[in-house]
């Protein structure tokens, strides 16, 4: 398997973007969280299941190495090679209990469907389509895009309301991020 560390820089240079999303609020480097998934790895292709070429389910994620003192978790999926201005946001979840060690596959897209019990209190924010749920990659044909699934560990529950977008969340998290980490798969449509 080709690892992201081998070819991601070249790909990102071609696409004109960095290998990591900008830090939130210009905070100093925080502890790195290990973000993984049972269905994909950084640098490899996302399965169609998690794109509109398939059923477009939200992918399962896991995380370890949370900083001591983590009280809440947030997750974003962003494409820094799309959007005007970049990034195009595919998914936002905040208010995730610090006890959670990941996200299961297929979080709700219907407002009537509640979140799994282990994610009680978690809220899906507004993505680039201004929708409160996951929508997967749909890049132009033949152009690989990379997707940052970023996990943020926060030092306190932020008590955020529904309806926040990326900017809102970054502002709310400013000064509260203890650590963060990324899973960075790729998707290409043919």
């Amino acid at each position: 398997m080709m690892r992201a560390t081998h070819w991601m820089p070249a790909l990102c240079a071609v696409l004109g973007m960095g290998t990591a999303p900008p830090g939130a609020g210009g905070q100093p480097a925080a502890r790195t969280i290990l973000v993984e998934s049972p269905v994909m790895t950084s640098g490899d292709a996302m399965p169609r299941t998690y794109t509109p070429d398939g059923p477009n389910l939200s992918p399962p994620l896991t995380w370890t190495n949370l900083p001591d003192g983590t009280r809440e978790i947030a997750v974003m999926c962003s494409d820094f090679g799309a959007g005007n201005p970049a990034p195009w946001v595919h998914w936002i979840i905040y208010g995730i209990p610090a006890t959670a060690d990941g996200l299961p596959e297929g979080l709700p897209i219907l407002p009537e469907t509640s979140m799994p019990s282990e994610l009680a209190g978690a809220i899906q924010g507004l993505n680039g389509w201004r929708r409160p749920y996951y929508r997967g990659p749909a890049p132009p044909a033949g152009t690989p895009h990379i997707y940052h699934f970023t996990v943020y560990a926060l030092d306190q529950p932020l008590g955020l309301q529904p309806g926040l977008d990326r900017q809102d969340l970054l502002m709310a998290m400013d000064g509260h991020i203890l650590g963060q980490g990324d899973l960075v798969p790729v998707y290409t449509r043919f």
């Binding site: 477009n56 897209i109 219907l110 407002p111």
Partner: protein, 247 residues
């Protein structure tokens, strides 16, 4: 994946779910008749208000094939479903309205329906593994979202242009067929107007009627605007189609 359909799904939630902002706005707007009723210049034939039937419950479609009509019904049922507030787009005859209009004022959209419905069905099969009607409720909503947002465009299903344009066209016509004046062939039995509590067209409003309206006590009159003598019946022509039709 499991079907997320709870015991009951509210219309408002489903409209949100598929982003039918226009429908939600129409459903909540007090002045909806002026916004959603089809302009006379867009009128299909007046006889469309009484679709022909071969047997009770089975509509004879004039423009859509049976397969196209079934698929369009399933889509319309997701956009404006029957729920605790009353019947939805299918009961209101929105698909019959579209079928008749495709032979008249909306004839320019006939190819867009033929190609778009076929592409939509291919998309459902390739992405979700089954025809739209056989998908679970949540997969139907998910597929419609992807079509609406344009994410389905690049799935090689054969959409001509953006899948979002197809979705927008269908949504617009379903709204017309549900909330437009029944004269144009939809809004059967004033289902759409009752759904949004629109009391009906009135050419004069007395203080008493105004008071009743503001108190929410004005009874619907269940009359088409064209039941009034001072409204001219619509005439369809190519010129008016080109001038006034805007899907």
């Amino acid at each position: 994946m499991t079907d997320e359909r709870p015991p009951t799904i509210s219309r408002r939630a489903l409209l949100r779910g598929v982003g039918a902002v226009g429908a939600a706005a129409a459903a909540s707007a007090a002045g909806v008749s002026a916004e959603t009723a089809v302009a006379p210049a867009q009128a299909p034939a007046a006889e469309a208000t009484q679709p022909a039937r071969t047997a009770p419950g089975r509509v004879v479609y004039e423009q859509l094939s049976a397969e196209e009509a079934d698929l369009l019904e399933a889509i319309a049922d997701q956009l404006i479903p029957e729920d605790e507030h009353g019947p939805g787009a299918v009961a209101a005859g929105a698909v019959i309205y579209i079928d008749r209009a495709l032979g008249g004022a909306l004839s320019d959209s006939r190819d867009a329906y033929r190609g778009g419905l076929a592409a939509f069905e291919r998309y459902c099969r390739s992405s979700r593994g089954a025809p739209f009607r056989d998908l679970s409720h949540v997969d139907q909503v998910s597929a419609l979202i992807d079509v609406e947002t344009g994410a389905a465009t690049g799935a090689r299903a054969g959409f001509a242009g953006s899948s979002g344009a197809f979705f927008g066209m269908v949504r617009s016509h379903v709204l017309q067929g549900t909330f437009g004046d029944p004269y144009y062939g939809g809004n059967r039995d004033f289902i759409g107007w009752d759904l949004i509590k629109y009391p009906g067209v009135r050419t004069a409003v007395s203080p008493g009627l105004q008071t009743a309206l503001e108190a929410g006590e004005l009874k619907p009159n269940h009359r088409s605007a064209y039941d009034a003598d001072n409204f001219e019946k619509a005439v369809v022509s190519n010129a008016t189609k080109e001038t006034h039709h805007g899907d």
